[in-house]
Point group: D2
Chain length 331, copies 4
Amino acid sequence: MRFLSDNAARVHPNVLAALAKADDHDLPYDGDRWSAALDERFSELFGRECAGLWIATGTAANCLALGTLVQPHGALVCHEEAHVEMDEGGAPGFYLHGAKLILAKGEGALLSRADIEAVTAGIRDDVHQVQPHAISITQASEYGRVYTPAMLAKLGTYAKESGLGLHMDGARFANAVAYLDCSAAEAVGPCDTLAFGFIKNGGMSAEAVVLFDPERAAEVRYRRKRAGHLQCKGRYQAAQILAMLEDDLWLQNARHSNAAAAEIASACGERLLHAVEANELFVHLDTQEREALRKQGFEFYDWGDDAARFVTAWDTRPEDAMGLAKAVAAL
Amino acid sequence: MRFLSDNAARVHPNVLAALAKADDHDLPYDGDRWSAALDERFSELFGRECAGLWIATGTAANCLALGTLVQPHGALVCHEEAHVEMDEGGAPGFYLHGAKLILAKGEGALLSRADIEAVTAGIRDDVHQVQPHAISITQASEYGRVYTPAMLAKLGTYAKESGLGLHMDGARFANAVAYLDCSAAEAVGPCDTLAFGFIKNGGMSAEAVVLFDPERAAEVRYRRKRAGHLQCKGRYQAAQILAMLEDDLWLQNARHSNAAAAEIASACGERLLHAVEANELFVHLDTQEREALRKQGFEFYDWGDDAARFVTAWDTRPEDAMGLAKAVAAL
Amino acid sequence: MRFLSDNAARVHPNVLAALAKADDHDLPYDGDRWSAALDERFSELFGRECAGLWIATGTAANCLALGTLVQPHGALVCHEEAHVEMDEGGAPGFYLHGAKLILAKGEGALLSRADIEAVTAGIRDDVHQVQPHAISITQASEYGRVYTPAMLAKLGTYAKESGLGLHMDGARFANAVAYLDCSAAEAVGPCDTLAFGFIKNGGMSAEAVVLFDPERAAEVRYRRKRAGHLQCKGRYQAAQILAMLEDDLWLQNARHSNAAAAEIASACGERLLHAVEANELFVHLDTQEREALRKQGFEFYDWGDDAARFVTAWDTRPEDAMGLAKAVAAL
Amino acid sequence: MRFLSDNAARVHPNVLAALAKADDHDLPYDGDRWSAALDERFSELFGRECAGLWIATGTAANCLALGTLVQPHGALVCHEEAHVEMDEGGAPGFYLHGAKLILAKGEGALLSRADIEAVTAGIRDDVHQVQPHAISITQASEYGRVYTPAMLAKLGTYAKESGLGLHMDGARFANAVAYLDCSAAEAVGPCDTLAFGFIKNGGMSAEAVVLFDPERAAEVRYRRKRAGHLQCKGRYQAAQILAMLEDDLWLQNARHSNAAAAEIASACGERLLHAVEANELFVHLDTQEREALRKQGFEFYDWGDDAARFVTAWDTRPEDAMGLAKAVAAL
């Protein structure tokens, strides 16, 4: 009854099967037939020409994408609790060669135009101050909240007006699409780049960088190699992504984990710190309540002193979600 | 009948099986039981306390190791045809924050003290010139040549006297150990750091950084994360390495590929550009000869205008190696 | 009647005279007799062995000093309005190869142990989060406030306990010493490094990096060159600093500007946003009041919507300071 | 009788006088009237719109210019004895964020298309190898040789065809113009950027970055600040350059030093290692001959075991040049 993290989930059998199927001789790096199929496959999914590259982690996916939008002397605006700021060990500083992160506040780790302007309006347009070059948003957000197409459109307009790039950290993009019940294209909206997460959602070691300006792909390919991320046997990376995309496995998995989260949420009522729109729940629970749940075998992380975080995954058993819901209701 | 590259080889069944066995819930990143076993496993192998970290590519393995030896304002001495110089897309420049590579010449892509001094003796000890901080050698070398323990001891003495770090790029370390028929410890000699390759030798996506000064491990762990190389589900990385180390699979695989290379070499005689000590052959063959071999179904790369490179792998079929040997002999 | 900035002040005649005196043949870079004298001169001033290097700007002085304290994968804690964060165009990101700045709040742009712990206590000691390596404080602070020796001692103890380096941005160090009426050593306290400002205080183009661990000097000299800051004719840099240090000109100049600021402050009473301890005044003045002063010929910058910043300098005429005091009093 | 280096020369009186004239209140950084005049002044000189920025060193001038031409994942082609490679302490690695230097050979430290192709032709157009982004040439070269307008035109054509930027390190640009007896525009030819040297030629601490694509100026201004090179009191920098440009002082000074070099060269005959076209002489002299000259009071550096380097400057006394000529002739 594990609700620690979707990182702790298993790998979907289709993905493991895909590795076995890819276990053949082919050209190394990304010269193989699986890797070669990615651009087309992502272009189909998003309904426009784009480039898709496998990459081993979301951190590297974010950073390689951001490298096309932020010059070393510029800044990236992100939420103060964004993964790029809090949990990537300074990778943006490394990949962007010292560019700055400007931290904005925003309800539910979502950013609006006003949130961004609150931290950028005071920046003087002179060389003493680092100028923003791009915005990074997370879909679904670090608090499991989702940007609607309308919210994305507004951010896109603002970014365009302001000459800023717009990046989406989509570590849980699938969960957002499942929640919105829209197309992948609608859920990414006007973003220039997307880090499309597969690993938390059933993959093993392959995320994707998606570039909606495919002319930037060549540069990103050079930088992927330069970052030591061009794997020798890339076919085993590409095969994972193709398996996840086949028959919308990515979406089915996300629907499953969202449903489990919704089941639990239904029992939490006023206890919820944030609306549950994806697969994460932040639930007010005091020390004794958390202890009580743990005694029943539920595993989860504390969230500060009087709350807990529960994350569901593609392999969360419905009975476990139902059990947790009941246990919370019974507190 | 493929002799293109050991990168093009399949993944050993034991490694695929290990992935399936690791397909269980555990803590993410490197908090799992497989990753936790690596330090001890490598310490046993090398007979002294060391730290071992999984990493997705040899390029990243080299660069993370080198980061402990070379400051951003320093230089690394390597062979002019070293992988770090020729084939890593500038990764050392990125990871070492702009440190310089000083290129030495050396027979068979091996470096001796004299080779190194030939390019460093003229460096004035003043701030206008970048000072060497470390040396990188490749075992087996880019031309398939092997450093003996005696050669390594001499380099170690020189490095120590000169205050230089000593790194070993061991993309084909297994092949070197198999050739030398010595212990792993003897084949790495006095090196401070080792990039231990498994992927060309039957692995899928996991190499190792081995640090013989385990006190540097904490820093390397931070830098691995910062480079976007700390994988979410690290257990699938660690499991590959453990499978390769179990019952010396790494060594068995290398012996197999070395034997195949020796078989072919025995037919090449005067045609060999370099002594064949590992699993690569550089063979003088004119255009017609190469065409003749290709017509018989042998796949390989040209090496300049009048030579070819053949690489054997853990899965090279003995009949293919024998077939190639016969075909060359018959030219 | 200019109170815009001490950057706008003239160069002290002794400094210009020193340039003329240094106008002789000597060895280039820092091989000349003036540059060679700096280590000793600063060691005398601070009463312990230290290294002193000329450098053209405070930004570069801060960054070169910080480079000895912060690794690329670490973080620097500073005030959210610190010059290194607000006004150096991202130079710390460049010089520290992408290290992070962690921003603390603190009254008067001063930092206490509690202020620092408020932003660092929550940092988990794991590789996902960037760990603090050093603290930077500004003496006098960006709001013209001064750290007393007692405050410095406390910070030093904290830094030592926490394994953090401690840097002082001393763009207006002279003003702080003048205010404290103590020795230079007491005003720098337990800091590891100091960016000692001379330019705002009568110099032309030479600040100093002072390293209280002189063993780091060699590295900083390499990095100064690498940053393109080793000037060809360094003797004209060193001569400026020697002129400023001779007969305590640096201190006399600071006393002069502090006295002018105190004169004005005495007329400001409740209007002061911050206690005036050095040569900067932040004064509550509404739009009409600011207009009234400007009509009388006083030049200064607005500070937000209802305040103004006045900066005095070594060449502020006493009658101008008195005139401003009267004008403010008369509002 | 000093022929050590033009770096060791004095500052021209007009430059010192300009510092005194600039000794007035004005806006700090480059907001002053002197700095504001530079773009126009350089545009007049080169007969086309360009941007001109002061900067304290040639190293920083080169690096800031190169930053507009070389991406971090690219390479710069330069001569193996180019200043950027040999004498800038790794600054290009720092400023270009780890970009690579590809070293070409070429007679007299000059590069031709063939020299460049000799080192770039073998670079495969794939991500494993760093691709050249720009070429850097030195005018006059490190051996005192000069590119003619015809040579520059050929390089420009090649660079354009190959999609490469073209930078000129003009530490001794004035000497090249004086030798060619052409316009500044002709001596820079089709280069995209120029590091225009003034310090060796009579200046004190101000070189210029000249950008022939003025649209890149904004970015370079940001990067100059980020490198800690935006001086507080920039007016003292700009004033030096304006003094050097006034009435072609830069050209007069260069003619003087070239003439002194020519005088000495006329006595050297077969001893010359390189044709003397600017103000440097590389002269075959054995140990005893060098000793004999030094006994007569001539100061100079050895150049290897059996040669010496003599550098003349704007303040070389004609009698000293004549004296050296006679002394060499008398050997």
